[in-house]
């Protein structure tokens, strides 16, 4: 069935308003879009790692989750949802349930790339029928914008401040999507918010309805941490894709498929200049930083094209 934004939006939302995420936050956009990918008749248990998302969506007694929801801790959304999924298997086996349930975990990049990586890796390796969605905003935003292994090279965060000696984060961003591919799971997707949301919606649907473990990495900008005016969210994600900083692709049963190839790959400045966290890179004398990021992006993009046989 071909994608229609209208049909997609006519489905019932599974996240309620009244949550306390910041104005313009990318995370609830990712969540509501992924959850709309569920078939209306299917039920779902959602798990969230401790994060902005979690503390803002379930501040007692107000839950923004319309279906069943479990939060456990920061580092164990993978293991927790795998326990729920296993319970479902048993209850189904015993004839205690007849509905179809799906299992979706959300974690920020801190809870996924860093502290929750082991738990996620274990869950993926064990083959649970679940989807893990990382809403990647490239730092520990809930505690106040500290660097994570997902934070991009040279970004200015509160634990990698652009100083007079050290110019922001010295390390490159970890490539978690490829780490997940290396688990040999049936579905891995990398996406963000673009245009009519076809890319993310279709990937979320495939992730949910591919039997076995699936991983979805969603770039979900944080206006506060990235320092751009909140209304520019879609401009930022578009620039990330057009500069190939955040390529859209998926890996189905080990086969790399490029989802989108920019007609004219834009220079990284087009992405970096939109955000205050990279402002220091534009100061005179720091041109080398932009050059280095461009080289890194070029290298990663070429490698991805090779993997996609392009």
């Amino acid at each position: 069935m071909s994608y229609s934004l209208k049909e997609n939006l006519m489905k019932e939302e599974r996240l309620s308003g009244g949550h306390r995420m910041c104005a313009g936050c990318g995370s609830p956009i990712a969540v509501r879009t992924v959850l709309r990918a569920l078939e209306p008749e299917d039920k779902a248990v959602v798990c969230s790692a401790t994060s902005c998302l979690e503390v803002s969506t379930f501040m007692y007694p107000y839950t923004a989750w319309k279906g069943s929801f479990i939060h456990n801790a920061f580092e164990n959304a993978g293991a927790t949802i795998s326990g729920v999924e296993t319970a479902y298997k048993v209850m189904k086996k015993k004839g205690q349930l007849d509905d179809t349930w799906k299992f979706i975990a959300f974690g920020g990049d801190g809870g996924t790339y860093d502290i929750g990586l082991q738990s996620l890796s274990g869950a993926m390796e064990r083959g649970h029928d679940m989807v893990y969605v990382c809403y990647d905003n490239e730092a520990y935003m809930n505690t106040g914008i500290q660097r994570s292994s997902s934070t991009p090279h040279f970004a200015d965060t509160t634990t990698t401040p652009a100083g007079t000696v050290i110019p922001g984060k010295l390390q490159k961003k970890k490539d978690l999507t490829k780490i997940m591919v290396a688990h040999g799971i049936p579905y891995v997707g990398q996406t963000t918010f673009i245009g009519n949301f076809k890319d993310i919606s279709e990937k979320a649907h495939r992730a949910i309805y591919t039997p076995g473990p699936a991983f979805l990495n969603v770039m979900a900008p944080c206006p506060r941490g990235w320092r751009y005016p909140s209304e520019k969210l879609m401009k930022v994600t578009k620039a990330a894709v057009e500069t190939c900083v955040w390529p859209l692709y998926e890996v189905i049963e080990g086969k790399y498929i490029l989802s989108y190839e920019p007609k004219q790959k834009k220079p990284v400045e087009e992405y970096l200049k939109l955000q205050g966290r990279f402002a220091h890179m534009f100061r005179p004398g720091n041109e080398w930083m932009i050059r280095q990021v461009q080289e890194e992006v070029d290298r990663n993009w070429e490698a991805l094209l090779t993997l996609c046989n392009l």
Partner: protein, 392 residues
């Protein structure tokens, strides 16, 4: 009449699990509890249970999967020891505060460092304030019997429960044991029917809230009440268990305490050694006795105070140290229990003993009684923070 068998403590616990046929087990290997998931995996792979076994990548994930499964509406179990229990600690708090009656078998072992695989109680004592119910076993039989009673207790009050035995001493030693017929076990333990659960299609449920200071304390007070209520439940379940098996259990076991003037209080397998010491001293006409703690959480403060009120001197024996420069956890809780119950007469000392598998012999216990006799005679307590049989 039960079934006579010869089983190690680990095997007995695994067998109890098999008889109960729980829904989900999430477990990770660690000496000396490893055998429990090993035995259980064999039951799973041979189709002897309906349980799904989750071979997780860590104890942290073991408890995390149990939390997910129990919240989903299933009976979830695990087993661990030592550092594994430490690694679960964060999740133990969550299991208790989410009010999920998970059952955890613990084969107690010392903590690093130095690394040591032998028995003491440092692991369980380290997590004593996580909000779990904690039962200790003296023998393989008790480990088995406690396991059969555990789910009834945990599920009645909505708290998770640890069933502890001493690593190697009972976990690996083979003893005669009387098993309960499986049909009787199933009838005794019953089905798990939670009132609220994630996989209820008619009622969505949200678990794991962020609670502001407005609500947090009320939630914790309610949790504290569940622990208080558990005392009655443990006794009630024990009563029904006795009707089924003839084996009687309480919060504590008193051994020759009726006219005792000197007493020791301890937990776990050393109670067997202590009973022998008491018996020999009684034969010499000495009025000595033993209090064995079965339920460490809830702590039987009133029962211990009542049992100690007429003794002249007592020693609390801790198989771990609080490193507070003062005393171990049992001694601390016994002393507060006496004070809270208006028992001021007995003189008390604390012994740290048996750390990292240090052998505890009948003579070791008799040495403690000799000290107590002197304290009773002279009224002089001396040092209250003592290490038993450490080389000076």
């Amino acid at each position: 009449m039960g079934i006579r068998e010869r089983l190690s403590g680990n095997e007995a616990v695994a067998y109890a699990m098999k008889q109960i046929n729980p829904d989900v087990m999430g477990a990770f290997p660690i000496t000396p509890s490893t055998e429990i998931p090993q035995y259980f995996s064999a039951y799973v792979d041979n189709g002897e249970v309906d349980t799904e076994f989750i071979a997780v990548e860590s104890e942290h994930s073991a408890m995390s999967t149990c939390i997910g499964a129990e919240a989903a509406g299933c009976r979830a179990i695990s087993a661990t020891s030592s550092c594994g229990l430490c690694y679960m600690t964060e999740m133990l708090y969550v299991a208790a505060s989410d009010r999920l009656p998970i059952t955890l078998a613990v084969s107690c072992r010392a903590l690093s460092g130095p690394i040591n695989i032998n028995n003491d109680h440092s692991d369980v004592m380290g997590v004593r304030d996580t909000g779990w119910l904690v039962l200790f076993a003296e023998t393989n039989q008790e480990a088995y019997d406690n396991y059969l009673q555990a789910m009834r207790i945990g599920e009645a009050v909505g708290l998770p429960i640890m069933v502890c035995q001493d690593g190697f001493i009972t976990s690996h030693a083979i003893e005669n044991i009387e098993l309960v017929e499986t049909e009787k076990v199933k009838a005794f333990v019953g089905e798990y029917k939670p009132q609220h659960y994630l996989l209820n299609k008619d009622e969505p449920m949200s678990v794991g809230a962020y609670a502001t200071p407005v609500y947090y304390m009320e939630a914790k007070r309610q949790q504290a009440q569940a622990m208080i209520d558990a005392k009655g439940v443990i006794k009630q379940v024990a009563k029904e268990f006795e009707e089924m098996t003839g084996r009687s259990y309480g919060l504590i076991e008193k051994y020759m305490m009726d006219d005792a003037e000197e007493a020791i209080i301890l937990m776990g397998s050393s109670a067997g050694t202590a009973k022998e010491a008491v018996k020999q001293l009684r034969a010499q006409g000495k009025k000595v006795g033993l209090i064995k703690i079965r339920s460490f959480r809830p702590f039987p403060a009133e029962e211990i105070a009542e049992a100690l009120k007429n003794v002249k001197a007592f020693a609390s024996m801790d198989k771990d140290d609080s490193y507070n420069g003062h005393c171990g956890p049992i001694h601390a809780e016994v002393c507060t229990g006496l004070y809270a119950n208006g028992v001021f007469g007995p003189k008390g000392i604390g012994y740290i003993y048996g750390l990292g598998g240090r052998d505890v012999r009948v003579e070791s216990i008799q040495k403690v009684f000799a000290e107590l006799e002197q304290i009773a005679e002279t009224g002089q307590v001396g040092e209250t923070y003592r290490y038993l049989e450490v080389r000076e």
